[in-house]
Amino acid sequence: MSTPTATPPANAFDDDDFKAVPKSDRPLSPKAPDRESRPAGHSRATASTDVAVAEPGSDTSRTPGPLHAVPHMSQDMLDAFGREMEAIRKKHMDDRGERDATYIRSIIKAQRRLEVGGRALLEFAWVPPFWVAGVAALSASKILDNMEIGHNVMHGQYDWMQDDELNGRTFEWDTACPADQWRHSHNYMHHTHTNIVGKDRDIGYGILRMSEDQPWEPYFLGNLGYVSALALLFEYGVAVHDLETEELRTGTWNLRERLPMLKAIYDKVKGQAAKDYVLFPLLAGPGAPATLSANVTANIIRNLWTFSIIFCGHFPDGVEEFTEEETADETRGGWYVRQLLGSANLTGGKLFHIMSGNLSFQIEHHLFPDVPAHRYAEISVDVKEACERYGLDYHAGPLPYQLFTVFRKIAKLSVPSAPELQDYLDRPSSSRVGKVAGRLVGGATGVVRGAGGVAKGVVGTVPGVRRATAA
């Protein structure tokens, strides 16, 4: 939870960096969604508001801001923060050049070497050391291909290089997910609606309960089972993500409409499977089973790794979720603050950051999705400094701990709290079978929650507060 302590100190605005921000009495972007429809009272009246924001105790700081997570941030402060972020973005966008090109090309070279080397070793996978070394090289290659190269290239981070191979709109990657569907589900749905419950389909990937704001139903008792399966088969989970199969549970899923997407997934999976599970093993002759097992292992290692990095981006403790209502009139400044509060970084060394595609800088990635990702480390210094001035939380932690909190949350949310159970039983849409199951669960709930070590008094109250905000 952020501490709504102070408005930024007045001297923050004497900072040289801040002076670089083009000052304007207009909102940051006149084209920000719904900006025009905002009530007039919220927009900045005069240029002098800049100063007013800085004065603790001024009117703007007493009215709670639009985001429940940071009531101390008025609309003006959100916009001021947004302008600082825009200045950071501009600094790095203007500086793109040889350095970025050399970096991504060297990563691509490393990835190709690992892949060619790994594949070659795995043709002799029946020799145990070759199996181990080959799996290591091939997993590393797939991880680099998916994350530092694929994910980042598809965000358009290297479009400016005008290299057809690094074009974000045409890049294809070494996973089961067709790149076009990823560009929709990730670049648009997830990055625009980050952590807005009901709009960001990355919250639970349509199969998990990851937020108290998702109404409980007995299906979610399997939360831990689903997440384990998702982690192992992550590439397939990502592949079917854009199909919005959660609509199957509500009976609104339309097969006919989804057929072209299914066809694309089928074709992609077919190619991937033919390569990893048929052709390369066959090339190994009698060693085929060893090669096959190695390729399966490499894909699973990649799945587990990407799953871990991605789930630690938005679901560890402390990361905020948002409601559709509080973000309906969002400005670009509000968008920036939501990206910040809805993401969490992972701490680690240089190699760790490269192997996570710099998604360990999830905050910077969400603030600046199209800035070359290897710059996030240096960008994070500026972002952290701004966060301190604005009294905004900057979430970060080591991978094992963050992952632990994610799984703790998934376990906790699989069983309903007493009010959630009551809410479920009162819902007219709940099925009879479900209700019986729900009542059976009811008894066990308290026990599990206690065992989870999370009965901090928060459990009962927070959902209530959230729902009040939402209403």
């Binding site: 083009p22 940051l28 972007s29 006149p30 084209k31 920000a32 969604p33 825009e86 501009k90 793109r96 050049g97 040889e98 350095r99 970025d100 090109a101 050399t102 070279k109 190709r112 070497r113 892949e115 060619v116 965000h155 358009g156 479009d159 400016w160 290089m161 005008q162 290299d163 191979e165 074009n167 974000g168 709109r169 294809e172 990657w173 070494d174 560009r183 929709h184 670049n187 648009y188 749905m189 990055h191 625009t192 992609k268 190619g271 991937q272 033919a274 390569k275 052709l279 390369f280 670009r332 968008w335 999705p369 199209d370």
Partner: protein, 385 residues
């Protein structure tokens, strides 16, 4: 395709070492093994001189003709299909991380036995690629190549009896290629090679032209120096000044069974075309000119017309973004976040410049992909929608 290939097969198959290996790499199985990338993606690292689909060229010779001009010889990958004299090829070069593409006409013979591509590049003061190559081109460097382009500016088949080649400055390259091709074919018709340069010092390929003229009595090489004091010292310089009817009579005494080509600065091409029309000549004239696009100075607030080229709709700009304007014009372009994040709406800018509504910056070059949700047109703009 090479135009005269009766004696030797067209050089489409890999002609150098590794023919079989390269052929195997071109199979469907290799494609699946390399998927979702292509085989070339890996070859670029392992054997850059091999390719199965893409075309690359290795610089095997660098020659500085004078302070401004550079001639590079490229050895293309086996995927190079050969070219016809007069065609041009797009080369791609990375400068400061950005891939730039420029078209140049090969100047060597297009005869199939020529396995290399020779390009002469003139350095322009503002030219990113020409300046980079003039300074950094080295033997062993690789550049990307397109397939040869240009269907009209090529020698007709069968060859006419009389061929007139007119060029100015660096426009010499495609017509020199024609001249060299014709001599390689032992063409015995009359060839007039009329070339305009500022002074003997600026004359490209002086020695080569001398050699050809000496070896082939049917070829008349006529250098013309346009700077008034420059004519002295070259015995071949029988003509002076700019292109006019006198020059024309000299190279085309008979307007029959002939073909004419002109390549060079816009003014020269215009002068030749005008005279051709005035004289009502029957000899077909083919022309080509290279002129860098001139960007007009625009007031950033200037509103012009927006053309949605794919839909054949033009509308007056109203200051809103291209996405909003397209929607107002009844189109429904693909879009997502409408705030410049997701890139769903990216489409190609055909011409004009745009203002980034987030940063206020003005930019855009033809062919660039722009985010139409955060781009407002400045002046006349055409997008591929």
């Amino acid at each position: 395709m090479p135009m005269t290939s009766t004696t030797s097969p067209p050089p489409t198959s890999p002609s150098r070492s590794g023919g079989l290996a390269q052929r195997l790499l071109g199979t469907k199985v290799a494609d699946v093994l390399a998927g979702p990338h292509d085989v070339d993606h890996y070859l670029e690292l392992l054997r850059p001189d091999w390719a199965v689909r893409r075309i690359r060229g290795e610089i095997v010779q660098v020659e500085h003709q004078n302070d401004d001009s550079l001639t590079i010889t490229l050895r293309p990958t086996g995927t190079w299909p050969g070219f016809e004299a007069g065609q041009h090829v797009e080369i791609s070069v990375d400068v400061d991380g950005v891939r730039h593409r420029r078209s140049y006409s090969p100047s060597a013979s297009a005869h199939p036995r020529t396995r290399t591509i020779e390009l002469t590049i003139r350095r322009h003061p503002e030219g990113v690629v020409s300046r980079y190559l003039k300074e950094h081109a080295r033997v062993g460097m690789f550049v990307g190549l397109s397939t040869p382009r240009g269907e009209d500016f090529v020698l007709p088949d069968p060859r006419p009896r009389r061929i007139v080649l007119i060029s100015g400055g660096s426009g010499i390259t495609p017509v020199l290629s024609m001249l060299r091709t014709l001599t390689d074919e032992c063409h015995d018709g009359e060839i007039s090679f009329l070339h305009y340069a500022r002074s003997p010092k600026d004359l490209l390929y002086a020695d080569e032209l001398e050699r050809i003229a000496t070896a082939h009595p049917n070829v008349a090489v006529l250098p013309v120096y346009t700077r008034e004091d420059a004519a002295t010292g070259d015995p071949r310089s029988v003509l002076t000044g700019r292109f006019g009817v006198e020059h024309l009579r000299h190279v085309l005494p008979v307007d029959e069974d002939a073909a004419a080509f002109v390549c060079g600065p816009g003014a020269l091409v215009e002068a030749v075309r005008t005279l051709w029309a005035e004289e009502e000549l029957r000899t077909p004239l083919r022309f080509e000119h290279f002129a860098p696009p001139v960007l007009p100075d625009l007031d950033p607030d200037q509103l012009g017309d927006v053309t949605f080229a794919g839909s054949d709709i033009t509308a007056a700009a109203d200051g809103s973004t291209l996405l909003e304007q397209a929607e107002a014009a009844g189109l429904s372009p693909k879009n997502g976040c409408r705030m410049g994040i997701c890139l769903t709406c990216k489409c190609t800018l055909n011409s004009g410049v745009v203002r980034d509504t987030l940063s206020g910056e003005i930019g855009g070059v033809p062919g660039e992909e722009i985010r139409i949700c955060v781009s407002a047109p400045v002046g006349d703009v055409s997008v591929d929608l």
